[in-house]
Structure formats: C-alpha cells, structure tokens
Symmetry: D2
Subunit: 335 residues, 4 copies
Amino acid sequence: MLIVMQNSATDADVKNICDVVRSLKLESHPMPGAQRTAVCITGNKGSVTPEHFANLPGVKEVIRVSKPYKLVSRETKQDDTVINIGEHAVGADFTMIAGPCSVEEESITMRLAEKIKKSGIDFFRAGAYKPRTGPYAFQGLGEEGLRILAKVKQELSMHVVTEILDTETLPMVAEVADIIQVGTRNMANTSLLKQLGKVKNPVLLKRGMSATLDEFLQAAEYIMAGGNYNVILCERGIRTFNDHCRNTLDIAAIPVLRERTHLPVIVDPSHAAGLTRFVAPLTLAATAAGAQGIIIEAHDKPTEAYSDGQQAYEPAKLSALQQQLHIVREAIAID
Amino acid sequence: MLIVMQNSATDADVKNICDVVRSLKLESHPMPGAQRTAVCITGNKGSVTPEHFANLPGVKEVIRVSKPYKLVSRETKQDDTVINIGEHAVGADFTMIAGPCSVEEESITMRLAEKIKKSGIDFFRAGAYKPRTGPYAFQGLGEEGLRILAKVKQELSMHVVTEILDTETLPMVAEVADIIQVGTRNMANTSLLKQLGKVKNPVLLKRGMSATLDEFLQAAEYIMAGGNYNVILCERGIRTFNDHCRNTLDIAAIPVLRERTHLPVIVDPSHAAGLTRFVAPLTLAATAAGAQGIIIEAHDKPTEAYSDGQQAYEPAKLSALQQQLHIVREAIAID
Amino acid sequence: MLIVMQNSATDADVKNICDVVRSLKLESHPMPGAQRTAVCITGNKGSVTPEHFANLPGVKEVIRVSKPYKLVSRETKQDDTVINIGEHAVGADFTMIAGPCSVEEESITMRLAEKIKKSGIDFFRAGAYKPRTGPYAFQGLGEEGLRILAKVKQELSMHVVTEILDTETLPMVAEVADIIQVGTRNMANTSLLKQLGKVKNPVLLKRGMSATLDEFLQAAEYIMAGGNYNVILCERGIRTFNDHCRNTLDIAAIPVLRERTHLPVIVDPSHAAGLTRFVAPLTLAATAAGAQGIIIEAHDKPTEAYSDGQQAYEPAKLSALQQQLHIVREAIAID
Amino acid sequence: MLIVMQNSATDADVKNICDVVRSLKLESHPMPGAQRTAVCITGNKGSVTPEHFANLPGVKEVIRVSKPYKLVSRETKQDDTVINIGEHAVGADFTMIAGPCSVEEESITMRLAEKIKKSGIDFFRAGAYKPRTGPYAFQGLGEEGLRILAKVKQELSMHVVTEILDTETLPMVAEVADIIQVGTRNMANTSLLKQLGKVKNPVLLKRGMSATLDEFLQAAEYIMAGGNYNVILCERGIRTFNDHCRNTLDIAAIPVLRERTHLPVIVDPSHAAGLTRFVAPLTLAATAAGAQGIIIEAHDKPTEAYSDGQQAYEPAKLSALQQQLHIVREAIAID
C-alpha cells in the first residue's frame, strides 16, 4: 500500500502514520519528495485496507498496490488450468457451447440439441431457471426443464450447461449439469459463490455487467477458496453509455484476463450483440483476441423462442461458423 | 410497441409484420411516412417483447413504449406509499437511519447505538452478514450479530435495519429486522426478491450499481408481485468512469423515481462518497433533491471499524447534520 | 511515481529500472516486499511519465502519484479565487446566470433578459454561436447574436455570458462577453484553450462529458498557463448508462473540486436534467452540495425556443427559486 | 416522432398535441391504446425536435424514430464508399497505417518510416501538432514536424496521415497530409468539422471518447454536408468504468457502423490497448469483426518515444502481424 501525504502534512502526521502501521504489525518506509512525502507499507497480508489510513491527518490519498486475490492469479500458478469433461479439455481444446436461452418443451429442445450436435458441438446450454429482469417474464420450466436436460444428456451424449439461481435448487442442478453457469446478475451473490465452492461441478462464471476484472477475479476466488478449482470465466459484455448493442463486449478483457489468471476464458457473444446479425462478427473477434471458447444462444425459430429470440443464432449455420473460427485460431497460433 | 421499418422494406414485409401481430392477438397500425413506414402495435399486455419482431425481414428497429412494471407505478397508485414502523411513518416523515457498516462486538455496537439514539435517530443499521468483494475480507458476525442487534432493539427501543444475503438466513434475519436491506449486489437476485415478497418486514432495496431506473423498479415489482407492498427504494451511487469518489451519486434519480413510483425514496450518501468528508455535502444535496430519508454509515473510531471505516461519519456530528437537513427541507417545501 | 514489479522480476530487472531512473536524473528507492518489489521514484518534475517504464522487463504496473497540474491546485493557492465582474464577486458571492440556450431575435431576447433582470439576476446567458450535434440543427445567429447581446448589456446593465467555438470569432466574442463560455464539446480543444489563456475575459469552462476531474483541471491549467487566471469551472452532467435524464449530474464533483482547486465551481442543472421539471431539484441539490453559482436555461415560451426548449425554466419562477436557494445556503453555512 | 401520453392525459391534451403538430405543417396520427394514447407524427423533415412537445400537458415521453443524418447513411447510398489515394483504395483494399505518436527529430522519423515501409505499409502516421491532456506535456514539433513529414512523403513515397487541431494550421497541414486526422478530443469541434468540409483531403475522423454512434455519424455528416465526401471513420475505444486498459475498444461498433453507413471503418488498437502487449490481439479482433483497416502506433525504441511509448508496437513485428491479418480476413470472407 502507498500512502500519499498532503504537501501541508507535518512531520508529526507522517510519524503518526508510521505508528499506526507498526500497530498493525507492518513496516513503513517514508519517502520524502520535493513536494510531499509518500509512505510505502510492506508486509501486508491482505488484512490491511485503505480504510485504516484514509481519514488520518495529513493523508491525501491511499493507493493499493497488491491485488486482492491469490488462487486465481497467474502469479500463483503459471500453467493454464485445464478442466476435463468427458473427452473434452476446457482450457486446452477450444470449447463450443450452444443452445436456446431457456429450456423449451421437450420436443423443441430435443430438436435443437440434435441440430447442434450435428454441427459438431457437444456442449448444450439452456436455462431451466431464468433470472428475468421483471417478474412477469417467463421464469423457466424449473424441474421439468432439468428433466429435459437430463434426457438431452442421455440420449444425445451431450454435456449440459445450465444456470443456477439459488442454493435451494443447487442439489438438483448439480445432479444434471456438467457445467453450472452463474449469470451476470449473480456474479456478486457471495452466498451462492460460497456454496459453489463446495460442489464438484465445473462452474462457468459470467462477469457482472459492471464488474471490474479484479472484482470478477475475486468472485472466482470465492469459489476456489471454497475448494472448487474448476472455474471457467466468461466475458459477456459490460454496461456503458452505448445504445447500439445490448452490452458492450469488452474485447480487451480477454488478453488481460489471460495474463492475470490461469483459468479458462470464454466469451458469450449473444448477450453482447443483442441481435442475431452481430453474433458472428463478435464470435470471430473474440476468438481472434484469444478466447478459449464460445457460448452462443441458438434457435431455429427465433420468433417463437421462449426468451431472447432476437439474438438467437441459426443452428444450421454453426458448422460454417466453426470453420471460420478454425481458420482464425490458426492465424493467431502463428508466432 | 413501435416497429420502424427500413426504407427498403416492401409492402409484403409490412404485411408480414401485421400478420405476426394478429397471430399474437394484438392490433397493428401501419403508418406510412415520407421515407419509411412505422407500425404501431396496441393491445399489448406485456407478454409481447421486441424479440418477436427484431429479426423479421425489413425491420430496422423495435421501440418499446410501455413500461414493464405495474404495481410500483405512480400511474397505478397516485398517493405516496407510507410504511408505519413504530411511531414513524416512512414515506411521510423524513427517515434517518445510521450505524456502522458491520455489527461489531457487543460493547462497541451498544456504544455506537446509544450515541446515534442520543442524536435523535431511532433507526440503527448494521450488517450481521456482509457481502464483501473478496473472500478474505471480514464476512460479518453472522448469528452473533443478529443477537447483538436484538439487544440494541430491546434495550434502546431502536428499529433495526440489516442486510439479507440469502434465503437460508432469511427466517432468522426476518425475526430481528424492522427493515430488511437488500444490497446493491443482490438487487437482481431474483430468487431472493421472490422470497422477500412472502415476508411481512418492510424491505429497503438498494439500486444495483449499474441498474437503470426501470430495472430498479422491476426489482421492486418482484417483491410487490409476491405480496409484500412495503418496499423502500435506496439510491446509493452508480458505477461510471469517475475516479474521484467510490460511486457516482445519481442525484437526478431522486426526482425521477418520485415521479415514476409511489414508493418511498431514500439515499445512502456513504457508499457514494467513499470518504467521510464528502458524506455531509451528499446528504444535504440528496435532501434538497427530494429524498425522503437518509441511511448513513457512522462510527466513532473509523480507523478501528471492522469495515468501510474510511467513509464512516462521526455520531457526535449527527445532531448538527439533522439541523441542517431540517432547514433544507423547509426550503424545498416552499412552493 | 511507483513502479510495481512482477513477483517473477529478477534483481537485474530492478537494477535496470534504477539505471533508467538515474538516466532521467531522478532518484529511485527500491522497496522489497514479501511477494514483490516496488520502486518509488522521487524528484519527478512532471516530465517523466509512465510510458518511460511500462514496457521495461519485469514491470507489472506503473502508478502515478503526483497530480499533473499546478496553478489550479488548492495546494498551490489556499484561498478561493475571486473574480470581480462589475459589483459582483464570482467565488465570493453566489452567482446566478440565466437566459435562453440561443440568442433569439432581438425583441424576444430583450423580453427574456428583462424578465430575468426583474427576478434579480444580473448575468444573462445566450449563445450566438451554437455547437449542435448535427449540421442541420440551428447553428446560432452569429454576429447578429453578438449585436443583440451588446444591446442587452447596454440597455439593461446586465453581464453577458456567451459561448466561444473557435479562435476566428474570439476577438468579436471577447469584445462583448463579460464571461466567455467554453462548452462541454470544446473542453479538450487545446488550441482554443491556449488562445483563451491570452484574453482578459473570465472564462466559464464546462466539464467535458466524459472528462475525469483531473482532465477537467488540466483543461483549466491550459488557460491559466497562458496567463488568464480567471477561470470558472462548471459541472454540467456526465455521460453514463443512465437513460432517465440527459446527463448524469455528478453532484460529488462539487465538494471534490472545491477541495482540489481554488477556482470557483458552478453548476448547470439544465443540461443535466434535460427536462424542465427536474431543473429545480438539481439546482437545489447543487447548491446544497456547495456550488458557488448556477447557470440555468430560461425561456418563457419553451415550445417556441430556438433550441433546448424542453429543458427551459420559466423566468417568472426564478425569484421563488432564488429564495429557496438562499435558505439552502444558510443551512450549509451552519458549522 | 412518437409522443407517448400519460394515462391520465385527457382528450383535450391529445387534441392540443395534434394542433401543435398541424401548426408545424406535419401530420398527427393518434393511436388510442388500452392504457394510454400515443401520437405518431409523420412528415418530419428533421426540423422538428422532441423539445417542441416534451413540456406540453399530458406528455409522458417523446421518442425519436428517424435518424438525424442523411449523407452518411447506408440507406442513402448502398455501396461502400471507396477513397483512392495513390494506388490504394481505402474502403476496398485493407488499409494499414503505422507510425509514431508524434513526429520526432528527422533522423528518428526517417528511420521509423523506412522500417514501416519495409514491412509493406505505405501509410505513415505521426502528429506534428499534439493535443495533450495537460499543457506541460510535449505539444508536437509543429511546422518543423510538417517539414519532416513532407520529406517522408517525398523520399519514401509514403502517404502521410497527420492530425489537425485548429483552422489556423489547416492550410499548412492540408498541403502535406494525404489524410487529415481529427482526434477524439475534436470529434465534436463543429467549427473545425465545417472547415474540413471545404478541403479536398480525405479526413480520418476518430470517434469521440463518449460519443454514441449516431453522434459520431453526425460529426461525419458535418464534413460531408460541407462538400467533402471522403471521410474515414475510426473506432479507438470509449470511456467506461474499466480500469484494465486505456480505453474500451467497442468491437461491436464495427459491424454496426458498417450497417449504418457506407463510409470506410478502420480501427486504432493502440489507444484502446494502452500497452504494447495488448495491441496485437485487438488488431486481430478488429479485423475479424470486419474493420477495413488499422492505424497503429509504432516505434522501435518505445522508452525513448516523445509520447505514448508504452503502447508503441515494434516495426519489426509488423510483417508477421500483417500475415496473421491476411489469414483472418480470408476466414471472414467465407460465406
């Protein structure tokens, strides 16, 4: 931590800071400058926060230097985390996930899953429990949805990705899901994150819509601190002043996350785009920026979809899209 | 809903829109203009969303006209909602709430509560369960914290405001809390909101840090739709590019919310300010803008506070602050 | 400046940093910590920037400590700057400025100015040159507008505030204007700022719509560095994701600016509100937060205004508003 | 335009709206709904704005339907604009531009230009006039810089791209520049845009750091309305709450702009990344999203660069990067 003093701060003010630092069992290093003094603090084990100093006399600003996370950090673990699911290795192989926003009635869901499987994609996404903005929107099929997902899994040998909303439904969801998804609205639901630290299923954690990368990584740290090391990070667009798309895909988050953490980083282009016709360019861009996978909303009859039809991608086009992705990945592999 | 057609849209495209509208049991009103046609849709009961039309041929843009909430709306209920707690009427009287960020050990908490009570404030806030950004920060005293709050309530005849994090702890929290607080991180935790619709305690709902006012009102609608009509809205600052304070207090949200809804609107200046010395100006500004109450973090030894000490207000100064607020409220009452 | 090293950085990396620092005629202070080393740099005269170090081997992050402005800083000059215009002292007295968005035809402009004068306000604002978002919107009356402003000045003994768009029109504008206004779109127009450093007129500098306070203060520094010390800062709302008002009034910017600088700080509630009915609450809030003046758009026939009629305040109501402001200022003067 | 009435609006309120519409020589179409009436307005030629209606009795909201630009619109001109510069066709060929942030002393600049030319890039960028955030930063070599650029042009047969800051220096800049660049700070400098409408040089217009796409397109419309149809749009990152990169590259802006306008769209990855090591992933992503060119800051001795060295790309690596771009463009060309 670095404490910057006002240029009117007295020697007594600086001494007082050093005393407080010592009382916290840390070391202080005053650094007199031409205009003002700064005090460097070392030995910080994470328990000391800016609030210990911000109101002390003579203090102008308190600057945090070290990052507040450990297990997720690339500095703690150099090698990429690889999560094996069936024969697929998330973090090593490129991971394609597709499916409708919500689980729909059995015949529709099976039809969609078959089409997606046929395009060569083994991961099927669909929400049984939906966190909608308003209470009058469709809230998901619930347990019936989980039953349908179990059928997709069994009959089509696909891996299933579905969202968790609360700890009450966690046991049921954990039984079906190959990957449990935490949506953007629940990224900071710390009670839920703690429970997810105790299950064995890999967790796909979406970035909160206004979370900084450090907050995002700390949410992952909650899960890892609980004992579940299989966390997949998902960038899905942030909230900005932009009005031309649903969310602003933060493309730079991909290389920055890959530098800061060893966890796999995938991208959801659908919620960023908000409209079907912008899904493909965002998918290609995310791959070019170094994403290790894509989770995409797909439906063959978008105007009849239970939810989010306006951004649904045509399953029949998934094969062609994957071919393009393949070439893009070859391009970025050149060194 | 209004559907704006591309200027290259054909008559067949427009007819197709009208057919889809009719299939949804709504009425369409094509409106040919000099450059393009727009189609107005009437009879919408909320079940139709832009996704039904966004991908149809010839469509340029779909504009939502009606608001997606009902019970919270000032158009549904003209008069201000008033929530009686003891002898205090939230929404009619000006509501002052103060206390430390976290419940601290019994002797400290009682000392703080007494000081706050002495300043004329009857509502005591303190978190027993804390939703911290990272897993290694202090997470609250939990049940022990609730026990201490019960003591504050009983011995000092104060009303207690405390935060809920999950449905597991809801029964215990609901037993002690005069007002249950939902923090900014959980504003969109729809499972929790649904459960809060079933309890009798008034709910203080904080705005999500990047929620639009319509999303904020829909979160309140979740609680009201469940049967709990006693919701208090709390503006606490939003996330922007600003780096000079913890959150950007959205002062205009106050008059706009008071126009859109009948629910009481209060303000948390502490999380917006982030530093003690900016709490008073924000408190005065919020009151001048029409806030119906203030919830403030207070501590007499900020550098020893368990959390958020850097923004804690000195309890000894609360009396003077209230005098200032009283004058400001007189000023705005002039018509 | 503080350079934070990666925890994999070698002693040679640290030595290399120190060598570079020395080559820049500065002093380095390596600070080894448990996990990583930080290097404090002192003696910085402002010529060294993070780019000198960001790409060096082993560097994780470069943190700037000192502020990049001098003349505007409260640390340089403790006392509030006071700008005398006629008998009015901006920065000491509370400064009310009102008028239409654009200068309109002579008879309308004179009528509006008279009404404003009658309410007790001596500063008349109106744009002769208008920086509109699109080229087909009304661009102002130009020189004819300046002529009308001169008449307002002479016949009504009012002080005139009008906007500057470029250096070509600066001589003409400077002849009429008692205060030259720089709009939000030109806050970072450094060529214009440099020219304004050479005139004698006080300058009212509006904050850019996405400027941090440090960028805002550096824009003021441009003017002061040129020799013109009479700069008035104006907060007018920033751009955020909010969709309920035209701009998000950054109320906390007021106390923060007043701490960082000695320059007068006023507020434009009209462009923040965007709608007439929210102008009064924002005016009262800004005053409560410590603003030293208000600049307000006023028109008696808003639907006929040449521009921005939807946010125009009724001149007949300005007297009552000032009474309210007076009481609010009494409230905040209590200590 | 669509005017949404309050549900308490009377028939007289609606009639009043229609009367105002008629007085503006437009047609009104009242549309009674279950809860409220909306009034559609047709015949709008762009002269009518929401401010004509926002304050009328009974009005809840005014929604703008048509876009406020014409010449830039893809609806006005279907085919991509192609700008021929030498043998290169911007908008048809993929356009690579590279060079240092500032023009540096002659020998350095020539060395850099040669290296860039050798990598196969014919467009050299460098600023002679620099719009720096603060007045004490290096402001560019000015006329001497233009002289050096002229030499690059003549001796190396490169095309030169350089920034314009004001109309005073426009004649000199226009004489040297093959493309005149308008920086993010001046996107809304309407006086400058108008002057650029009168020159013959193509203009590279950077998006303002908080401009919506419609505002960006209107800035281009200013130039085209003046008679200069050769405008190149440049996305360079927007300002958001993100703290992990200098600006947030708005990758979705690329396909959205290409849909809305026929003008060429290129991307500046350097100012978005802010750090050298993130420039390549953003370049590849922008290309994958459909950008028609890249403008990149390049320097062979970043720590000695006059400005922005921390984001400078090594010229020696430009060949390899172009090979990767070539493959990415082949991938997206597949249909």
